[in-house]
């Protein structure tokens, strides 16, 4: 019985965007393919207006889901796990094992919370955006000059709600549909935020493990060979080979620094690009042929998982590298 139910649910999930919506001639399901997240409403905090974007709103949903899940799973902990506890334990144990295998038992304790939180947050973010039916429901400002695009079913809001949702500034008036739910991974603010957290924590852990001075001088400011050169110069027997290698080391240190900064960018745009493009692909496919999203849904679920995994794994690896004492020559 349960299996049948899940099959039907699955079919419905696949059918709604691919089959049902085009039949109803709802052309502008997600009229906007915008990089910029849409503003749902603004919170007034004194003199400061805090615009709440749909991605921020969805971030909170993701957090709420995770916290509720964690709460449900650990509410009644038992030695013999069952239900949610089992699920959570499997996830956490898998991530912890990964940390242990990569970073060793001691560092795993330190890295694990960050890595696990990144994985869970990104995973739920990615998958939440895939749930059909959320994307097309949102807010769209309509007036006499700008009627709703053809095919969009609109329901007028009460004056209070209009007050609440309406953008406060005229220049924000864009006449696009602002979906309530949009995956946070399609918002660059979130991906940059995560990338910053990952890389800053990486540097901090590295400095904690090796000492601030040693960390910087071993990785970025490599003047060891210069010092040696001047020592030999002081003795009157200068080794000019050391001088050349010193120059090389200096250059390598700069490269290392640039690569460290560029990791933030690659983190940011890898996640954003994959998930954003995935949702666009799904949207396009829905209008091409009703069966097409079937395949792409499976694929995007996979991509969502892989991106979450990659983000977490790379963070883990960078942290491991940063906390490993090494000569810079060994790592390129």
């Amino acid at each position: 019985m349960k299996r049948w139910l899940s099959i039907i649910l699955f079919a419905a999930v696949l059918l709604v965007p691919g089959f049902v919506l085009p039949r109803f001639d709802v052309k502008a399901v997600t009229a906007s393919v915008a990089v910029k997240p849409e503003v749902l409403f603004e919170l007034e905090l004194g003199s400061f207006n805090f615009p709440i974007s749909n991605t921020l709103f969805t971030s909170w949903i993701v957090m709420l889901m995770l916290v509720l899940f964690a709460f449900a799973a650990t509410r009644k902990m038992s030695l013999v796990p069952g239900g949610w506890q089992n699920v959570l334990e499997v996830i956490i144990e898998a991530i912890y094992k990964l940390c242990e295998n990569t970073a060793g038992a001691v560092r795993a304790k330190k890295f694990f919370p960050v890595v696990a939180t990144i994985f869970l947050f990104v995973l739920v973010s990615n998958w939440l955006g895939l749930i059909p039916g959320f994307g097309p429901i949102g807010i769209i400002p309509v007036d006499a000059k700008h009627p709703a695009p053809e095919g969009i079913a609109t329901f007028p809001l009460s004056r209070d709600l209009q007050e609440f949702f309406g953008p406060k500034h005229a220049d924000h008036h864009e006449y696009v549909l602002a979906p309530f739910v949009r995956s946070p991974s399609t918002d660059l603010n979130m991906t940059i935020g995560l990338a910053l957290i990952a890389m800053v924590l990486t540097q901090i852990f590295g400095m904690q493990a090796l000492g601030v001075v040693k960390y910087w001088f071993a990785r970025f400011i490599m003047i060891g060979k210069f010092v040696e050169f001047f020592k030999t110069l002081g003795k009157g027997k200068p080794k000019f080979g050391l001088f050349v290698f010193g120059l090389l080391d200096l250059f390598v240190g700069i490269l290392e620094f640039i690569s460290e900064v560029s990791k933030i960018l690659s983190f940011t745009f890898r996640l954003f690009g994959n998930i954003f493009a995935g949702e666009v692909v799904l949207l396009v496919m829905a209008f091409l042929f009703f069966a097409a999203p079937f395949i792409f849904y499976a694929f995007e679920l996979f991509v969502g998982f892989i991106q979450a995994f990659v983000f977490a794994l790379l963070t883990l690896i960078f942290m491991t590298i940063a906390t490993t004492a090494h000569g810079a020559e060994e790592h390129h």
């Binding site: 971030s59 902990m77 956490i92 912890y96």
Partner: protein, 166 residues
Amino acid sequence: MEALGINTTWLIAQIVNFGLLLFILSRLAYKPVLTALNTRKQKIQESLDYAESVKKQAAEQQKDFDLKLEEARRSAQAAAAVAAQAGEKEREVILAQAREDARKLIDQAKEQIEYERKQMLAELRQEVVQLSLLAAQKAVSQSLDEPAHRRLVTDFLAQTDALSKN
């Protein structure tokens, strides 16, 4: 930046979000679950160790038991052998006794027979003496006196006796 929708407010909001989530999940999920996993690991290890020790103990007991069984079997065999030996001895004693008894009985019987034969011979001799006396009396009739006569017969009998003994 604005075209990409990047702004400081949202960026900070997202970073705060992550920090908050990290904190809550650490408290609510990671710590209790990892603790539980560790406890379970320890419990399982303990159980395995215990099972191992019980197994070892059982094996030892089995060995002990086997040893004792073997010992008991051996002592039973020894006892049986001793009993068998004793029985054999007893049998021989009884047999010897029986043989002895039989021999004694036969000897007695032989003696008896011998005695009776002698008796009979003596009686027979007396009879023969009487008969001879009577016959000789009749034949000789008064030619010899009584003592001479008796001597004569006795000599004769002695001769026959010596003959029969040879």
